[in-house]
Symmetry: C2
Subunit: 452 residues, 2 copies
């Protein structure tokens, strides 16, 4: 039997070979990562189908490229020629929300926002909030160990994953972790899979810890005439309170927003800081205000009102969209130790100057995690080359400051080259041996994260 006919027997109408439909499955949001042509898109509806699919792929030595909603920005879900894209869109059910145990069990295709909403109805909260949360899947969030704005106080995706069901390359079903909040039985395979970008196993079920709904947040916005001053404010805030959000936008980002939607922002400020606290009372807010002022900043507004606070976040939320009005955008993602934040911001400015590119930066400042947004004219090949150079130089400079080439977006295809530099030979060799322990035939998302 023809391999694709075999696959049709496994997947039924979950098999797609129509090129027009497949076109939508060739890339994620890393638009400049070249997308290959899959021979098919598989849309399994059950763990059993994923198992059969893995066995099929192993038999036919065909690569499987797992895919959530395709919102990744590092090329982790980019199709390779001759692969089968595995879309989890049909495995999209919330299987359980256990209120007493404060956990949820979901299939990988459930949207982050869907779980947030379902938890909210029960007085519970799923914190991780990548900016794509309304449209990205939990499977993708787990595969990339997605972060967001809440991380500064509430941690990243891996802090919420209690257990996984996953299908190995040979079709074996693996279960890791469980429903206990503490568990040290054996190696931490759960966290080894989280962030492995589909290279080790196909995640088919996720058990996620939930929290109580957080109290209402108070909000503060301040501006600074220098990057150093904003860095001092961030440092002081981190040392004195548990901010539930602590973001910075640089001048280029502020100006892009003000041009896109006039909000009356101070377009001469070097940086704008947006912070929230969800501690009871207003003591943390006062403390953050004092920290900004002591650092030489100007506190523009504070509020204890939640909806007013939401308004004050508008500029931050609009930043990417606003910057995208300026041209094609490469979204970079690096993190540095906290004290290096102002220096990293300065270096990003220097890179923009040196490469004659526009770079707007938004940062999860409280985590030292920056997103330099490199803007270029998508129709100008020379401009694109300069932008790519800037994108790579941002990572190199982050490494130089003791940081990482990716804080929350992942390595995918775009950052593979610099990963080698960050990890070094010993770690990379070990990565390959671990990859081999999971996927000896190299069928799972080959060419992503590491060359296997």
């Amino acid at each position: 039997m023809n391999p694709l006919d075999e696959l049709a027997l496994i997947l039924g109408d979950g098999l797609v070979t129509d090129r027009d439909i497949m076109e939508g499955y060739r890339r994620d949001q890393a638009l400049w990562a070249p997308g290959g042509w899959p021979i098919a898109v598989a849309r399994p509806a059950s763990t059993a189908q994923v198992q059969a699919l893995a066995q099929w792929a192993t038999r036919h030595r065909t690569a499987l490229v797992p895919r959530g909603a395709g919102t990744g920005v590092a090329g982790g879900a980019t199709a390779t020629d001759g692969c089968v894209v595995v879309s989890f869109e049909r495995m999209n059910r919330i299987l359980a929300i256990d209120e007493a145990a404060m956990l949820a069990v979901v299939q990988p295709g459930v949207l982050n926002g869907e779980l947030k909403a379902a938890a909210h109805e029960r007085g519970l909260w799923y914190p991780p909030d990548p900016s794509s949360y309304a449209v990205s899947t939990l499977g993708g969030n787990v595969a990339t160990n997605a972060g967001g704005l809440c991380c500064v106080k509430y941690g990243v995706t891996s802090d919420y994953v209690l257990g996984l069901e996953a299908v190995l390359a040979d079709g074996t079903v693996l279960r890791t972790g469980g429903r206990s909040r503490k568990d040290v039985a054996g190696y931490d395979l759960t966290r080894l899979l989280v962030g492995s970008e589909g290279t080790l196993a196909l995640i088919t079920e996720i058990t996620l810890r939930l929290r109580r709904r957080p109290p209402r947040a108070t909000t503060l916005v301040a501006t600074f005439t220098s990057l150093e001053a904003s860095g001092r404010a961030v440092a002081a805030i981190v040392r004195s309170v548990d901010a539930s959000m602590l973001e910075i936008m640089d001048r280029t980002a502020i100006r892009a927003v003000e041009r896109f939607r006039p909000l009356g922002l101070d377009t001469e400020a070097a940086a704008m800081l947006i912070a929230q606290s969800d501690a009871p009372g207003s003591a943390e807010l006062s403390c953050m205000q004092a920290a900004c002022e002591a650092a030489g900043g100007t506190v523009i507004a504070t509020t204890e009102d939640e909806s007013e606070g939401q308004m004050m976040l508008t500029a931050r939320r609009l930043a990417l969209t606003a910057v995208e009005q300026l041209g094609t955008v490469l979204v970079d993602d690096v993190a540095v130790p906290l004290p290096q934040l102002p220096e990293m911001l300065r270096r990003v400015d220097a890179i923009a100057a040196a490469t004659q590119t526009t770079i707007a930066t938004v940062a999860h400042a409280g985590d030292g995690n920056l997103h330099p947004l490199v803007v270029f004219d998508g129709k100008d090949a020379a401009a694109e080359a300069r932008a790519v150079a800037a994108f790579n130089e941002v990572m190199a400079q982050a490494l130089g400051l003791g940081g990482t080439i990716t804080g929350e977006h992942g390595v995918g295809t775009l950052k593979r080259g610099l990963l080698t530099r960050q990890l070094g030979a010993a770690s990379l060799a070990l990565h390959r041996r671990i990859k081999h322990a999971f996927d000896p035939g190299g069928i799972l998302n080959p060419g992503k994260v590491i060359d296997s």
Copy 2:
């Protein structure tokens, strides 16, 4: 050259072969795990010496058994015949405390309590607090992913490990993670090593995240006439506040303490709950009080005074020592999903009755993590056999309730048999392949966690 002479060249006076001294390195606190005889104890003073030691061990196919302070209770540091015990007592320096980055870099032999003290001096805090914290090493804490009383709010050791330096079996130096708070570059090797109990690599340096010092805690003690009622109170507290401590002692534990040191405890209570909140103000304390009363408990005392609060923890802190007055103690360690806590407590009572043993239970109730303390007459072989049966049955019952055989102590040698049952064949096979990826010759802590 004789292998031991070779080793002497590597280690100088860091090599011990005197049997009287080696006697102290044969076991950890899992006293009933039979300790073999090492051919030597190595006390390396540097990463370079650890490297040379690993190369030596690989050449001579000699097992290395890493050891912190020997405070483990699962037999993870038990010597095997013919091995070399690797004690990190000379690698005991705090290399850096970076106040601005809020992190510490330590050698593995630093005591948890030493780091806590050094951090405290700088207004910082290293939260993980296994009850051994004053005498256990950070290397051991990392190797076992140690927990403690703070976990309910502040997480376990792995939540604080930003990066590691470790020596592989072949002497390769591996660096994982770094100084960034967020980092998704490559597989999470840091967390794969945390909790691997010395079976994957020899940890030579640890980068640990620090927090701000927590605010003063308020404290509450309540008693309950039934385990169910105490379980309801725990559930209500977890749903309504972020308790910074949430412990339970059962009647047997209460009575043991009262016999050891009369504190006026209610020896008829089925359970005593000890809770703290370090949120500002007294709102959480009031909330916890209301939750206890609504569950049918009697609130014995509350205080917003820190030293008075410390007094109120006396019973909890004395529990293990008090129970040890009753006989030889096997310290068990299981965790269950939160709603199963009262049922697990009931089953422990049933196991005590069925095996004619005394079992006192203390529990990190807010995490669903229980320590049933099985007491027996150490001179009575039949009693010991019943105690071991009880110890194993506790784990079996935890598994039956969807829990884990170990919440924070590790698998070591004592829990290996049941690990197979918990993980299943697929996971176990993968554990072996991962072990092989790190340590193909099987020289690192063989026979611990898994049979390799």
